[in-house]
């Protein structure tokens, strides 16, 4: 009696910090004081908790309850602390037995139901890492919490059931009648499950582009597609995730954690095994792509596309600031967002696919006779895509409109499954070669390594060296051509890229540069 203590987790970005929730009951007039840097939404917890406790049958103490969230210096927000605060207050009043190191992660409804919260996966991961393997979550979050290895999950539909399990006096408890519980259980299954990915077989013609997508999938390279409307840019981009292999455990965990934070409606019930595909509209703001929002920033499209594909259709229509903000995650693979309330780090190792028309009217392909744009208009259109951004795109290709012959040959196109098998094989070759330097993909190899241990013979790079001499390539471009060349070799089953591989890689880089 007098003091209660429970645990919960505060998420700052993807990293969770253990929060100790202390409650003290003071023999004076009723009041509820919440200390320890709670934000407005957390302060609302007081009223939710009072109502939930009353409607579960065990009202809060009619004295002054002081709740302290430790460490006080850590900003805390949201409704996920509701249950930990309530259990702490009830322990202080002696209504339930102490819960030891158990971590409580749930929001409370006024009716005393346990409500699911966002970010259960990263929160549980942090709890287990910190030596708190026992967690209590809402029934709807159970499957997600169980994804973490080594965790002991207990879940309840209502507060009354939970209190009963913690030794509350069963007489006043208002336990739910069967129906209410079934209604709850029935609601928890809209999984993001297996929506079928579109197939490469749907694409007519565009042989070069198909090869480029295969190379991109195999080596994790960025792609830019420039072509007239109807050439199949969007179709190609949408099919890239289908060529990528399933995510291994540690990647799936990262991806699921990010989606757990950003997902509001559907609750995760299993690890996300397929590479995500994010396709924001070109009116998107920097904050929506990079991550942002008030308080501690939340992940944006770039982080939701982690280990998957970020597709920017009509790329020149985006704000220049948005496009340039992508340069940093393209290099480093993560985003660190600084705000007054704190710093959040999110992973953002995505494959970028840009699509663009050749000019504002979209007709400047082939001879460009139908194009009605002035040269200045065309320059300005592509000027939106800054050189530093384009320089980071390994595969840049121009698509042409389909010919009749392409349409006729549509039936014999390779299916995604066949291509994906080759991609898997090429990825295996990369892992074997690069494993000792801790890399998995050619696109991750450092320029240093390409210059030293993975250096190609001068005969293989003769054309690339010439391009460098003519000043059409940057140092970064040089390295990027070499990475693509390695991927080409892996797809072709060669041990080392030959001159052909390097030439093709170079050709894939230079198509848009002229525009």
């Amino acid at each position: 009696m007098g003091l209660g203590r429970t645990f919960s987790v505060a998420l700052v970005g993807l990293s969770g910090h253990m929060v100790e929730v202390e409650a003290d009951i003071c023999q004076t007039l009723p009041a509820f004081v919440l200390l320890g840097l709670p934000d407005a939404s957390l302060n609302e917890a007081k009223d939710r908790i009072k109502a939930a406790a009353k409607n579960a049958g065990i009202p809060l103490s009619r004295r002054k309850i002081t709740v302290n969230l430790i460490p006080a210096s850590l900003p805390k927000k949201g409704s996920g602390f509701d249950l930990a605060i309530l259990m702490s207050a009830l322990q202080a009043a002696g209504d339930v037995r102490p819960s030891g190191g158990t971590v409580f992660l749930s929001e409370l409804g006024l009716d005393g139901r346990l409500r699911p919260i966002r970010g259960v996966l990263p929160a549980v991961m942090a709890a287990v890492d910190d030596g708190h393997p026992e967690v209590v979550v809402a029934a709807a979050n159970r499957a997600e919490a169980e994804l973490v290895p080594g965790v002991k999950v207990r879940s309840y539909g209502t507060l009354a059931e939970l209190l009963l399990a913690y030794g509350a006096d069963p007489v006043p408890l208002l336990l739910p009648v069967g129906d209410a519980e079934e209604a709850l259980a029935g609601r928890e299954s809209p999984t993001a499950g297996d929506c079928r990915e579109p197939d490469m077989a749907d694409i007519a013609g565009q042989h070069e582009a198909r090869t480029a997508m295969e190379v991109a999938a195999a080596g994790g390279h960025h792609v830019m597609l420039v072509g007239p409307p109807g050439a199949g840019k969007t179709m190609l981009a949408e099919r890239l995730p289908g060529l990528l292999p399933d995510l291994p455990d540690h990647h799936a965990m990262e991806v699921t954690a990010v989606h757990s934070l950003s997902n509001t409606a559907a609750h995760l019930t299993q690890l996300l095994r397929r590479p995500p595909f994010e396709n924001p509209h070109h009116t998107a703001t920097t904050a929506s792509i990079i991550g942002g929002g008030s308080g501690v920033p939340r992940p944006g499209a770039a982080s939701r596309a982690h280990r998957g594909v970020l597709f920017l259709d009509e790329a020149p229509e985006y704000d220049r600031a948005v496009l340039d903000a992508l340069r940093q995650p393209l290099e480093s693979g993560n985003l660190v967002l600084h705000r007054a309330a704190g710093t959040a780090a999110y992973p953002a190792r995505f494959q970028l696919v840009l699509a663009a028309n050749p000019c504002p009217c979209g007709m400047a392909s082939g001879k460009g006779l139908e194009c009605s744009c002035t040269p200045v208009q065309r320059r300005r259109y592509f000027g939106k895509l800054s050189k530093p951004l384009i320089d980071r795109i390994d595969l840049q290709l121009r698509l042409n409109r389909l010919s009749l012959a392409d349409m006729a040959g549509a039936a014999e196109q390779e299916a995604s499954r066949t291509v994906a098998a080759r991609v898997r094989e090429a990825r295996r070759a990369q892992r074997e070669r690069l494993g000792r330097w801790g890399h998995e993909l050619n696109s991750e190899v450092s320029a240093e390594l390409l210059k030293t241990e993975l250096r190609l013979s001068p005969t293989a790079t003769v054309d690339l060296d010439k391009a460098m001499e003519r000043d059409v390539l940057t140092g970064r471009g040089y390295a990027r051509v070499l990475r693509v060349a390695w991927t080409m070799a892996d797809l072709a089953g060669l041990a080392v890229p030959d001159r052909d591989c390097v030439c093709t890689a170079l050709a894939f880089r230079q198509q848009v540069g002229a525009a």
Binding site: Q27, T28, L29, P30, P59, R62, R63
Partner: protein
């Protein structure tokens, strides 16, 4: 007398009896000044104890103790000092208590006594 006033009066009688049993000597009741009213003034040894009594039929509109707001406690402080001055006892040690009574008319009333609220 209206029902709510009757309830309040009954509650105060109950509280006074309860406090007497608890060892206090009630010296004044329903003392008024321009500021408001003190329900019960009692002596506990040499200490003047001012009690605010709240009576409710049910907790449906909140527990009676919840009706004693910080503003009310502040007003009781002023009233207490006024009472002490009026009785030539300024400087005497005093305390403010709250007595909550839940009384639905059928089951025996539930009395809660919270000491030193202000």
């Amino acid at each position: 007398m209206r029902a709510k006033d009757k309830l309040g009066k009954d509650g105060e009688d109950l509280a006074a009896r309860y406090l007497e049993q608890a060892g206090q000597r009630v010296v004044d009741r329903n003392w008024r000044s321009g500021t408001g009213e003190i329900d019960i003034v009692a002596l506990e040894g040499a200490t003047v104890v001012v009690s605010e009594v709240k009576t409710r039929r049910s907790p449906d509109y909140g527990h009676p103790l919840e009706a004693i707001t910080p503003a009310k406690v502040q007003r009781l402080q002023i009233l207490t000092l006024q009472w002490l001055r009026a009785h030539g006892m300024s400087g005497t040690g005093y305390r403010i208590d709250a007595v909550a009574i839940l009384h639905d008319g059928q089951t025996p009333p539930v009395i809660e006594h919270v000491k030193a609220v202000g």
